[in-house]
């Protein structure tokens, strides 16, 4: 899923283009990640503590690696960097391609709902909160 797919059928309200420019510059104009799909709740963890001398990466890439020293979802990365999810997906694609982060896609069973052990764990976890 990317944020752009089937939106043509919908009528969007006009927004001035201001906020789009920075994310656009951050990805150097790329709308799609080089690899990966990145669900909102895919979990991201850095594989290294610092990126060192990797070339071709910008400050936002570094910021993601820093943030993901602790595991974060794609949605959390976007919220903390104050960037749209689509932009963060592109940046994450760059980092996956360089093996600088690992990503765990959310679980989905063929039936669409997880098995009882997951439900029970969540129910017990909520009760214990």
């Amino acid at each position: 899923m990317t944020g752009q797919g089937d939106s043509a059928e919908h009528e969007w309200v006009d927004d001035h283009a201001g906020p789009v420019v920075r994310p656009y510059a951050v990805t150097r104009g790329r709308a799609r990640p080089v690899t990966g799909t990145f669900d909102l709740i895919s979990l991201v963890m850095a594989t290294r503590t610092d990126v060192g001398s990797e070339s071709g990466l910008g400050p936002e890439h570094m910021a993601i690696v820093g943030l993901c020293q602790r595991m974060q979802s794609v949605a959390e990365v976007a919220a903390h960097l104050d960037l749209p999810v689509g932009t963060v997906r592109v940046l994450l694609g760059d980092l996956v391609a360089r093996s600088l982060v690992q990503v765990r896609e959310p679980r989905a069973t063929p039936a669409g709902l997880p098995d009882d052990s997951v439900f029970e764990a969540v129910i017990n976890g909520l009760r214990a909160l």
Binding site: A8, W12, D15, P84, Q102, L113, G125
Partner: protein, 201 residues
């Protein structure tokens, strides 16, 4: 959704699994309040920027002419265990942005539809959406002061709900109350799954 080769470097197995629940309902019904009540951190906000053409942005000079819109989603996180993290997402306005709803609903365990008895019809689009998708949901009546008290079976009838759909009262500002709603949803989703399995689905 499965592990693509590029998303599965060695060691990925040690990361927890994430699951999500949606909080839907009309404007001002308490969605963001409920997200905040259950979340272990303050609610976060994430944005999707959508382009009207649907093909994305392909060159910088064109940016000014593209019609774009920003859809914001509030969400919170509850760490269940080392293996499991629950995310709770408030859905954006239910009169449009269905494309974003589809993205949110994909893989969701279920949804809470918040209802305000002073404006019950406001939650119809959410109910229609989750019924249409087959996403398990519960209706939680958020008790605002000054609202006439209805019996839950009256709400059930007024919303024309399938009798199996739980309807509960809540106070979205209270953590305990909101937690109970989520637990009701999870139990309902579990039953739904079991019923579907027995029906050979």
């Amino acid at each position: 959704m499965d592990y693509g080769p590029s998303e599965r470097p060695a060691g990925a197995a040690s990361l927890p699994t994430a699951i999500k629940i949606l909080i839907a309902g009309g404007f001002g019904v308490g969605k963001t309040t409920m997200v905040g009540a259950v979340s272990e951190t303050r609610p976060l906000r994430t944005e999707e920027v959508l382009t009207e053409t649907g093909v994305g942005i392909d060159d910088l000079s064109g940016v000014e002419e593209k019609r774009t819109t920003t859809v914001a989603m509030d969400f919170g996180r509850i760490t269940i265990s080392d293996d499991l993290v629950l995310y709770v997402f408030g859905t954006p306005g239910q009169d449009r942005f269905w494309f974003v709803w589809d993205e949110l609903a994909l893989g969701a365990i279920g949804a809470v539809v918040l209802a305000d008895t002073r404006r019950l019809a406001d939650c119809f689009p959410s109910i229609d959406y989750f019924e249409g998708r087959g996403t398990p949901f519960v209706v939680a009546v958020n008790c605002f002061e000054g609202a006439t008290q209805f019996r839950l079976d009256e709400v059930q009838t007024a919303l024309n709900l399938d009798p199996g759909v739980p309807v509960v009262l809540c106070d979205a500002r209270r953590r305990e109350s909101s937690k109970e709603v989520l637990i009701t949803l999870l139990e309902h989703a579990m039953k739904t799954r079991e019923a579907r399995r027995r029906a050979g689905g």
